[in-house]
Amino acid sequence: MNGDTGDAAGTPRPARAEPGDAAGTPRAGRPAGATALPPLRTRVVLGEAAAARRASPDSVRAELAEQTPVGEALVKGLVRAQLALAVRLSLVVVAGLGALPLLFAVAPAVGRVKVLGVNLPWLLLGLLSFPFLLGVGWAYVRWAERNEQDFTAVIRRPEA
């Protein structure tokens, strides 16, 4: 199995070059010299070619890369927006599902209500909880992607 030694860290297989992994950066998690700053600086230089292709001004991107206060604030804003979204939706789940045991304990009569011949708690837990979770997940994916698009739009805005 001599030929099987793995890919070198920074050479994505040609057919599968990933947008996310800039060339030359050691794969995350591999301890080999994974200090982030030097590769980041290199990437700005490399990024000029990409930016030229897209013909968009690159000052905000540079702000991000250089960790200037403006760039830092932009990232913090994105993180805060995504976290607020996740927390809000998990509160929806806590209210919708997490409160059920308490409700059943406080108002045992709820457990005796029958819908279509089945006791309500069985319907809620055994059937309806799954579409509910899926719905919350769907809403999250939609809004999280919108947050990211907003962030991207700010970075790409020509006058920035």
């Binding site: 297989r13 301890p31 998990s90 979770l133």
Partner: protein, 541 residues
């Protein structure tokens, strides 16, 4: 014995090995073995994640618990599914963007601490073993139930097939195998349930909860498993055979703990609010900390697709969990003798023949669910073994990127030996309970690490290590006490038996406090790490 079972099991094993061998043709480098070269499409990936996740505890255990305890244990399937929502909301996209392949990798990326990495390795191996042992045991018990062959054969067979498959094909093959096994598991429960419902209708819808308690649907002979007292009066000895007529009430057996009547049907049977919330916390938050779940996210090409994959998984897993409940409920009607023997985990396997009779239809559907159960053991243990082997490979054999495929195979065998040995010697652990405990340990160690690591700039390596040691260590101790210690009672029995409600908050509090006390150790490159975790890939600078 059912003539369809052996051919069914042989087909599942052959198809598994066959897909594994097919995948082997593509697996040429270590990267192929570990992460399928990140070339797996979202639909395949979601089916593979679901196939990997739905273990023996889901396929057999949930129905068995419902049969025995009723409404209160519906929180298990709800929590198992909701775990993916928590994963989606807080972890999925940033984790993929971090580029971390395993939890120890994440420690390295986010906190740059080799010491924390080692600590995480210990927990990954512990959780992996805790989860792997009951899978192999479930395989052994299924073999005993269905074929009458000794317990060890089933455990060994599954252990060897899985080890060979992971060692030879790695994750690329496993992805196809897992995806196939999701659909097999879904079919194996969904098709019989249609016939079971029709049978129940044509039997005149016998009551699930007759006023006097469960009754035998047909004349039944029950072999007593342990010395016990029936209904508090009649003493019986192990091995004694009792015969009941159709319509006779099922006596309560002192050696079997179950819920009857209202306690089964209505909330709050005999589990306290504390135990219920503990279970909810463990399952909702534990999923994100399971080693074999995280590995899969690395096979998505970017953060946005990781999110979409998770959403599809949530749908697929939710669809599956509609089914075991039906088996548990119908088991109350057609296989109430399990309440006397205590082998409620076997309800899924026995129900088709019990309800539909020993004709070809009943036997065929019985063989189908047995094949599905085998798929459940194979897929979950393959995934677990791949992730534990991955950690052993990178962190214990110190192979790093240059490690050869041969090293990965060695790691696989090393990772398989301990759980396999344990499963042969510790045969009386309760499958579903142990899996629940694995969730509790994961929720108390890796959940706070991931959530705080992804969303809070202030996390330090010292704080993270302290939190994992306090919360995860406490949960680990509680698990070991529950599994190996003497039976407990009193108020602390619940604290030990369902630890998540106090160990998860403990882990969070210690982690935050520890980080605030060691503010100077916040990694200097935190800004660029946060950018990397949260910014869309198209903006990569």
């Amino acid at each position: 014995m059912n003539p369809y079972v052996v051919p069914g099991l042989v087909v599942v094993v052959l198809v598994t090995v066959g897909i594994g061998a097919y995948g082997l043709r593509f697996a040429r480098t270590t990267s192929d073995f570990l992460v399928a070269s990140r070339s797996v499409s979202p639909a395949w990936n979601a089916a593979a994640i679901s196939g990997e996740y739905l273990s023996a505890a889901s396929f057999l255990g949930v129905a068995g618990l419902v049969l025995r305890y009723g409404l209160d244990v519906l929180w298990y399937p709800v929590g198992f599914a909701a775990g993916y929502l928590a994963l989606l909301l807080f972890v999925a996209a940033p984790l993929r963007r971090s580029g971390a392949f395993t939890l120890p990798d994440f420690c390295q990326v986010r906190l740059r601490s080799p010491l924390l990495r080692r600590l995480a390795t210990v927990f990954v191996v512990f959780i992996g073993c805790l989860y792997l042992v009951p899978q192999l045991q479930g395989a052994g018990l299924t073999f005993t139930t269905v074929t009458g062959a000794p317990y060890e054969w089933g455990a060994l067979l599954v252990g060897v097939v899985v080890t060979a498959n992971v060692a030879l094909g790695g994750m690329r093959a496993i992805t196809f195998v897992q995806a196939f096994q999701y659909w097999l598991k879904l079919t194996a429960l969904a098709v019989p349930v249609i016939f079971l419902m029709l049978q129940w209708q044509s039997d005149g819808r016998p009551a699930v909860t007759p006023p006097a308690g469960p009754v035998f649907a047909t004349a039944t002979t029950v072999v007593v498993q342990q010395d016990a007292v029936l209904d508090g009066t009649v003493k019986v000895r192990a091995g004694e055979e009792l015969t009941f007529a159709a319509g006779e009430r099922v006596p309560e057996v002192s050696s079997v703990d179950d819920n009857r009547g209202v306690a089964w049907l209505l909330p709050g049977g005999d589990s306290s609010l504390f135990a219920t919330y503990s279970l909810i916390l463990a399952t909702f938050l534990g999923t994100m900390g399971l080693p074999h779940v995280l590995v899969r996210f690395y096979t998505n090409p970017d953060g946005a697709s990781a999110r979409r994959t998770t959403l599809v998984v949530l749908g697929m897993v939710g669809l599956f969990y509609l089914l075991p409940t039906m088996y548990g409920v119908l088991g109350r009607v057609y296989t109430p003798q399990l309440l006397m023997t205590g082998q409620t985990d076997a309800v899924v396997l026995l129900l088709p023949e019990a309800a539909l009779g020993g004709g070809h239809l009943g036997q065929f559907l019985g063989a189908l669910v047995t094949a599905g159960a085998l798929a459940a053991f194979l897929s979950t243990s393959s995934g677990l073994l791949t992730s534990v082997a991955g950690v052993v490979f990178t962190d214990i054999l110190h192979a790093e990127r240059g490690g050869s495929v041969r090293d990965f195979r060695l790691a696989t065998v090393l990772a398989a030996v301990l759980p396999l040995g344990l499963s042969l010697y510790v045969s009386n652990m309760d499958v579903s309970r142990v899996v629940g405990l694995a969730f509790a340990v994961a929720a108390s160690s890796f959940c706070p690490l991931l959530v705080l690591g992804i969303w809070w700039r202030g996390l330090t390596d010292v704080g993270a290590a302290a939190g994992i040691l306090a919360g995860g260590g406490a949960a680990m101790t509680a698990v070991l006490l529950t599994v190996m210690g003497p039976p407990l009672d009193g108020w602390y029995a619940q604290l030990i038996g369902q630890p998540a409600a106090w160990t998860v908050p403990l882990a969070f509090v210690v982690m935050v406090a520890g980080s605030l006390l060691t503010k100077r150790r916040i990694p200097p490159d935190i800004g660029s790490t946060m950018l990397r975790l949260h910014a869309p890939e198209e903006l990569r600078l």
